[in-house]
């Protein structure tokens, strides 16, 4: 799990382990560097996973606070990103189970709605909504596996580490998710 790439000239940046050491030693403000590094990526995963921007923001907030509280127990500080994602994945599972009971299916992405105001952006927004709609119809474990593989681009080994699932089970979930998405999106555009 790598941090969000930022603009600007190359600079020597503190490693995650260095920042964690500062935070654990009492420099609470240094934690904001980790939020800046991983916040957008976490927000993207949670948004795609939960299909609701507000719920995703809440899940990410909760994830970072939990990570802060457990920071001294982070065994491999240079792999903070993976560790954070394992917390986020669990948090999204809980939130997903809740929202699943409420049968939520559509993304409410404010950015997408603003973009939709421009007429030429409509097709793009509609396509994104179809994707979100199709994603929301996947089983949670399949959606999780698909996003980690094809959006977060983790290897199966990395996925196994952050989800706690076996590699063959993950491959099966990705395959089923892919087949399902192909079918749902085909239906949507042939309708």
């Amino acid at each position: 799990m790598t941090p969000d790439a930022g603009p600007g000239s190359p600079q020597v940046v503190a490693s995650d382990a260095d920042i964690i050491a500062r935070v654990v030693a009492g420099d609470t403000e240094a934690f904001s560097i980790l939020v800046d590094r991983y916040g957008n990526r976490a927000a993207r995963y949670a948004t795609r996973m939960l299909g609701d921007r507000a719920e995703a923001e809440e899940a990410v907030q909760d994830t970072f606070v939990r990570a802060y509280r457990a920071l001294s127990r982070c065994a491999d500080r240079d792999r903070f990103g993976h560790w954070l994602f394992s917390i986020l994945i669990n948090r999204c599972r809980t939130a997903g189970a809740r929202s699943g009971r409420r049968a939520r299916t559509f993304v409410r992405d404010e950015t997408a709605l603003v973009a939709a105001a421009a007429p030429d952006a409509f097709d793009g927004v509609a396509w994104r909504e179809e994707i979100a709609h199709a994603l929301a119809r996947l089983e949670m474990s399949q959606r999780e596996a698909f996003l980690l593989k094809h959006v977060e681009q983790l290897s199966y080994e990395e996925m196994a580490a952050v989800t706690g699932a076996g590699i063959s089970a993950l491959k099966m979930r990705v395959k089923r998710a892919t087949d399902q998405l192909r079918m749902l999106l085909h239906e949507a555009y042939s309708a």
Partner: protein
């Protein structure tokens, strides 16, 4: 030609920016968490420090009580070869508390006694029981000879 799933993945990789409000909330939550932890730590530190003081004072008092008060026994018998003091504080053991002879011929030793009344006697040259000429006699007489009495008041050192 990329597979459709790659195109889909690329679409879904479109950036999602964490709102600045959420970032601010995260930092506010962890600042509050840290302040809470510090308060808890300080409370524990104060409690532990107080417990240490109470234990230390208790230990000092107990040690002082266990050590007792230093009482000097003196017997002026320059011609003696050996003098010991026996009493309830050493279970009347004639080997437990020998006295030392000073150059002036006086025999003396110091024993720490707990508060209360103690009955004792000197034994000169192994068989002669001699009461302390400087102390009152104890009521009754153990071992067939008059004994002396020393009283240690509580709180003296």
């Amino acid at each position: 030609m990329p597979e459709w799933v790659d195109v889909l993945g690329e679409d879904l990789r479109a950036p999602v920016e964490l709102s600045s409000l959420t970032t601010a909330r995260i930092m506010a939550a962890i600042r509050a968490d840290r302040a809470r932890r510090l308060r808890r730590t300080r409370t524990w530190q104060v409690l532990v420090a107080a417990a240490v003081v109470v234990l230390a004072v208790g230990l000092a008092v107990r040690t002082r009580q266990a050590d007792g008060t230093a009482v000097q026994f003196v017997l002026p018998v320059p011609a003696a070869h050996e003098v010991v003091v026996v009493g309830d504080f050493n279970h009347w053991d004639t080997r437990a508390t020998p006295l030392r002879r000073t150059p002036s011929g006086t025999w003396q030793t110091t024993v720490r006694l707990k508060p209360g009344a103690h009955v004792y006697s000197f034994v000169v040259d192994g068989n002669r029981w001699v009461p302390d000429p400087a102390a009152p006699l104890a009521p009754g007489s153990d071992f067939g000879a008059p004994n002396s009495l020393v009283t240690v008041a509580p709180g003296t050192t």
